[in-house]
């Protein structure tokens, strides 16, 4: 008692008295916490998943980047010849000097491709393989391109001697160097760089149209009292279930050379008047009949990006605060002012985010421009053409790098915007309840009806095309188009492969993604590792599918890579697809995990239970809805994806989505539509099962789920 008496020492103003005491004490050693088995296990797992992302993403991208700087050129300055015409060996002849003398090469024009070849005899205009002349050749620098004789390459600096009969088989090889040469070629070839403008034009126009359409649609769903909202929303989300090739195919049928629209109009108004109107509308390049080109790409892009924009904008609109509206109405603000001052600002982050997501989807999309782009080149298709058509891998890599830039920008802006949106969401708002207004509701229903009809119409056209014998000449019903086995693209096997691939992707992907997210969210310590992992997990979203697929060729098809054995297998398709769709899955998992009490793990530790127990007994059951969401997301996308896997399938692992592409390419458009619809039905069925499963789960666990 007495020590606490009010003595003078009890209180000193200013800083706490502890500061001086601390200086007297011996300097305290920093504690190094001891880790237990769980900590080690979690770190090991996290490192394993991080390694997966590095191998499946970072290293391939690096391989692609370095490929784009690979230049092949003839190092003629390092080649020397000697000739013996019977009087002994003459002086060494430098190939470059000789070539320039002869005018067959120019010093600044020695660039070629990896497959470039030059005959040694070109440097000897009077060469005859019958002459008794003997030739010698050597490299003056080791490990440059060297020369080849009968399939054997020499890069050492020894002189080698050849009879004239053998000398004609000597070819010079280009040497590989690093440099920006490929980029210089790219930016000086209008046929290549014009694609940048094309891609940007298409993406911007599609973005504006999609976001406007989706905004009104979302507005109708959230702010009107029209009936059948659920039905309209389902219809609007349908494009998610089909490959982006499909709308292109439907447009070909609707507006192509054998246009359904024209046939219908002709039946109604007569062929002459239709032809006259068409002529009048044609501006020479892109007339109304010219669906192949930018118009077609934009329509197809709007179709397949619509649901993505819609979902984002619905979220943005449904967090609106009713109190703001009440305040605005109390101030007697007219409706249009409320719209401009309350509705739009409230949804602005959603709109910006939707715009960037759509932009990113369109600019990286390969399906729509491939099917309906015609001669109108865009970046994603250029990659395909360079690699598959011309086997110019370096140029493919250059286009990939060019495509990465707008995709990265769009991705970054979207992330920044989303961060703000989250802050908005957490504010306590009173949800807005729309009131019935007859005319407005009817108007909105009309609009959503038309959009829904258009979307379903696209599918109906495809299904119609798939089921008739031969448009437009034989309209009888037939299942011939389903006879995939007699066509290019892998037949029914590819459908089976796709389902297997989608199932593997869903199961393996969900496990890896969810567990990875768990380790990031709930791990103890190891902050630097967790931040690095978080960054890796966000990366895939910024990487276009074409770029990812091409990177995989460079990385996994390298014979020096110990992982080379997975090239051409189902495994590489699954790995590629999981990686391609990693980010969205990861974010879904993280959101679900964040909603769980951070202290569950701590309680479990205090009760001395391993983390695997809390993970299995609590985390997984509580997060089951999110886990199901991730698996259906992965399944659907694995079924529809084309861009990444188009470079990676082998004859044994053809896929349905790629079959659509290949059959369309080969002119089998109706079978392509049929296969596309098979993908749709499969995805629709799985979505249905998912909905049923989720509902059942919710019913069974309702006792403890109070949310």
């Amino acid at each position: 008692m007495c020590a606490c008496r009010a003595t003078a020492s009890a209180f000193t103003p200013g800083p706490p008295p502890m500061v001086s005491i601390a200086q007297v004490r011996r300097p305290a050693a920093r504690i190094r916490p001891k880790l237990n088995r769980d900590d080690w296990l979690m770190r090991a797992f996290m490192v394993a998943i991080a390694l997966y992302l590095i191998v499946a993403l970072a290293l391939p991208l690096y391989a692609m980047l370095s490929k784009s700087f690979e230049i092949y050129s003839f190092r003629l300055d390092t080649i020397e010849f000697q000739v013996d015409e019977g009087q002994g060996w003459g002086p060494p002849i430098n190939a470059l000097e000789r070539g320039e003398e002869l005018g067959i090469v120019r010093r600044d024009d020695l660039v070629t491709t990896a497959d470039g070849r030059m005959q040694a005899t070109e440097f000897f205009p009077d060469f005859s393989f019958l002459a008794p002349t003997r030739y010698r050749i050597r490299n003056t620098e080791p490990n440059t391109g060297g020369y080849m004789v009968r399939g054997q390459q020499f890069t050492d600096t020894e002189w080698r001697e050849f009879s004239s009969n053998d000398f004609r088989r000597v070819t010079l090889r280009p040497s590989q160097t690093k440099g920006i040469g490929n980029y210089l070629v790219y930016f000086s070839t209008p046929a290549l760089f014009s694609s940048i403008e094309h891609s940007l034009t298409i993406s911007i126009i599609s973005t504006i149209i999609t976001v406007s359409l989706a905004f009104v649609f979302a507005y109708a769903l959230t702010r009107s009292c029209m009936p059948f909202k659920g039905l309209f929303k389902t219809a609007a989300l349908v494009p998610i279930l089909v490959p982006s090739l499909l709308p292109g195919i439907a447009l070909v049928y609707l507006f192509g050379s054998q246009s359904i629209v024209v046939k219908v109009l002709e039946a109604l108004f007569g062929a002459d008047s239709v032809a006259w109107v068409w002529q009048a509308l044609d501006n020479g390049t892109y007339g109304p009949t010219e669906i192949y080109g930018p118009i077609g790409i934009v329509i197809a892009s709007v179709f397949f990006t619509f649901p993505h924009a819609l979902l984002i904008i619905i979220t943005a609109l449904s967090i609106a605060d009713a109190r703001l509206y009440e305040a605005a109405i109390a101030l007697r603000a007219p409706k249009w002012r409320i719209f401009w001052t309350v509705t739009l600002p409230g949804a602005r982050y959603g709109l910006i985010s939707a715009a960037f997501v759509v932009f990113n989807l369109v600019i990286t999309d390969f399906g729509a421009p491939k099917v309906i782009g015609g001669q109108y080149n865009v970046l994603a298709v250029d990659i395909y053409k360079q690699v598959i058509g011309q086997q110019n891998f370096q140029m493919g890599a250059v286009v990939s790098v060019v495509l990465l830039i707008p995709a990265l920008v769009a991705f970054t802006v979207d992330r920044l915007v989303q961060k703000r949106q989250v802050a908005l969401l957490s504010a306590r708002a009173v949800p807005y309840q729309p009131r019935p207004m007859r005319r407005f509701d009817l108007l909105m229903m009309g609009y959503t009806g038309i959009v829904s009809l258009f979307i379903l119409g696209i599918l109906a056209v495809c299904q119609f095309a798939a089921l008739i014998k031969f448009w437009p000449y034989d309209l009888s019903f037939s299942l011939n188009n389903y006879n995939f086995d007699v066509m290019d693209g892998g037949g029914w096997d590819s459908y089976g492969n796709s389902i297997r691939m989608a199932l593997y992707t869903a199961v393996i992907g969900t496990s890896v993604v969810f567990f990875g997210a768990y380790l990031v969210e709930k791990g103890r310590g190891f902050a630097a590792g967790r931040t690095a992992f978080q960054f890796l997990a966000m990366m895939p979203m910024a990487i276009p599918g074409m770029v990812l697929g091409l990177s995989y060729i460079f990385f996994f098809n390298d014979p020096a890579n110990p992982l080379n054995f997975i090239y051409g297998t189902m495994a590489i398709l699954v790995i590629c697809t999981v990686t391609h769709f990693y980010t969205v899955s990861h974010l879904t998992a993280v959101t679900a995990l964040k909603q769980m009490d951070a202290e569950f793990e701590l309680v479990s530790q205090s009760l001395k239970q391993p983390f695997t127990k809390i993970f299995a007994r609590v985390t997984i059951p509580v997060c089951m809805p999110a886990i199901l969401d991730i698996s259906i997301y992965l399944f659907v996308n694995a079924m529809t994806t084309v861009s990444a896997v188009v470079f990676l399938y082998s004859p044994d692992t053809t896929l349905a989505s790629v079959a659509v592409l290949n059959m369309d390419d080969a002119g089998d458009v109706a079978p392509a539509a049929a296969m596309g619809m098979m993908i749709f039905y499969t995805n629709a069925l799985m979505r249905g099962l998912h909905a049923l499963g989720t509902r059942g789960l919710m019913a069974r666990t309702q006792a403890w789920r109070t949310r």
Partner: protein, 375 residues
């Protein structure tokens, strides 16, 4: 630091052994020091409360003891064993969080059984122990319910049962009652304290509610800005707050600036008061502190023994007593608040504007060096 914090065990009169010893503990978050040089001993079977304003580091200290957020430096010893670097799984404690952290998908029974599994206990044994615990916390027939189906108070009890299921040597409670409404809280305070007595488990509870700490704790550790301001029994902390912070944080206190007038004397305005202090030279500025309930209204007009005249400038009825604001020309700027019983107000016929005599008992006056910053 305060050392007069011995706790006599009520029955034997001897001090129980130290169960938990914390030495020179520091916790930093980057450049921010959340705990600075914490020294603390907790005796076996004791109920200790960490009390302090929000953000003072109570939770941080508790989590360091649990090993959930290991300290930057310093030593923690539990039952003679150095546990400073051990992960939580290798320490011996049970913990209840403010959120309870009950596993939502497990029944009450399974929640409590969670820590009993994997311990080479047979199923039947586990079930029996869970029943026992359910009984102990008064939820005997609620074992099959899910946490969401229980009231807040019931959930709290389940969390408690789960924490003590494995009979840990140390029970840690982080604001266990703050999510409950006042009535349930009062009731549970009692129950937790009774349970702790019965089990004899050493318990540390974090709270920012002084009433909770005063009613439940054997000893209170008052914290502020990451340091311990005072350790003592509730009575000590209330009666003899070691610092102005403690005096201000716990209960109500009058703070009046004054100066040392001589040995054992201070002056407020013109008034000289005698009180107990040592080692301050004359004219040193001090803060004079006294609790409103310690100010006595004198009926006779004596001018000795710290009695002086004041005017009642305001009289506020607070239910069980009146609070009077007292002022006086001699006091200078200073104002005093005094709690006066209803009886006395009535018997003396006190009203606003009236002059009365008050006495500040010598042993209730506290002197702190330095000018008052509170008031």
């Amino acid at each position: 630091m305060p050392s007069g914090n011995g706790r006599e065990s009520p029955d034997t009169g001897t001090r129980p052994p130290v169960f938990l010893r914390i030495e020179n503990l520091v916790k930093k978050f980057g450049a921010f020091t959340a705990l600075n040089n914490i020294d603390l001993e907790v005796f076996e079977g004791e109920f200790v409360c960490f009390l302090g304003p929000s953000g003072c580091g109570k939770t941080t200290l508790l989590r360091a003891i649990a090993g959930l957020d290991i300290q930057t430096s310093g030593r923690i010893e539990q039952a003679g064993r150095d546990i400073s670097v051990l992960p939580p799984t290798q320490r011996d404690f049970g913990i209840v969080f403010q959120s309870y952290a009950l596993f939502p998908n497990l029944t009450v029974h399974k929640n409590i059984a969670y820590g009993l599994e994997n311990r080479k206990m047979r199923r039947a044994e586990i079930n029996q122990r869970v029943e026992e615990l359910l009984d102990l916390v008064g939820l005997a027939d609620q074992g099959d319910k899910y946490p969401a189906q229980l009231s807040g108070g019931q959930q709290q009890r389940v969390a408690l049962a789960r924490a003590i299921a494995t009979s840990p040597g140390l029970l840690l409670l982080d604001e266990p009652l703050s999510a409950l409404d006042a009535k349930v809280r009062g009731h549970l305070r009692h129950e937790i304290k009774a349970l702790q007595r019965r089990l004899g488990v050493t318990t540390i509870m974090v709270t920012h509610d002084q009433e909770e700490a005063l009613t439940m704790a054997d000893r209170i550790v008052v914290m502020n800005h990451g340091v311990i301001e005072q350790i003592g029994s509730p009575i000590e902390v209330y009666r003899a707050p070691a610092t102005v912070f403690v005096a201000d944080f716990i209960g109500t206190m009058n703070f009046v600036p004054g100066r040392v007038a001589g040995p054992e004397q201070v002056r407020i305005g013109d008034i000289v008061l005698s009180c107990d202090f040592e080692g301050l030279s004359p004219e040193t500025p001090v803060t004079v502190a006294i609790r409103p309930e310690d100010i006595i209204v004198e009926e006779a007009r004596l001018y000795e023994g710290n009695v002086f005249q004041v005017r009642i400038s305001a009289l506020e009825f607070l239910g069980s007593f009146f609070r009077a604001d007292l002022a006086n020309d001699h006091l200078g700027e200073a104002r005093l608040r005094a709690d006066i019983s209803i009886n006395q107000v009535r018997s003396l016929g006190l009203s606003e504007g009236q002059d009365i005599h008050v006495r500040l008992p010598r042993d209730r006056i506290r002197i702190y060096a330095g000018a008052a910053t509170h008031g």
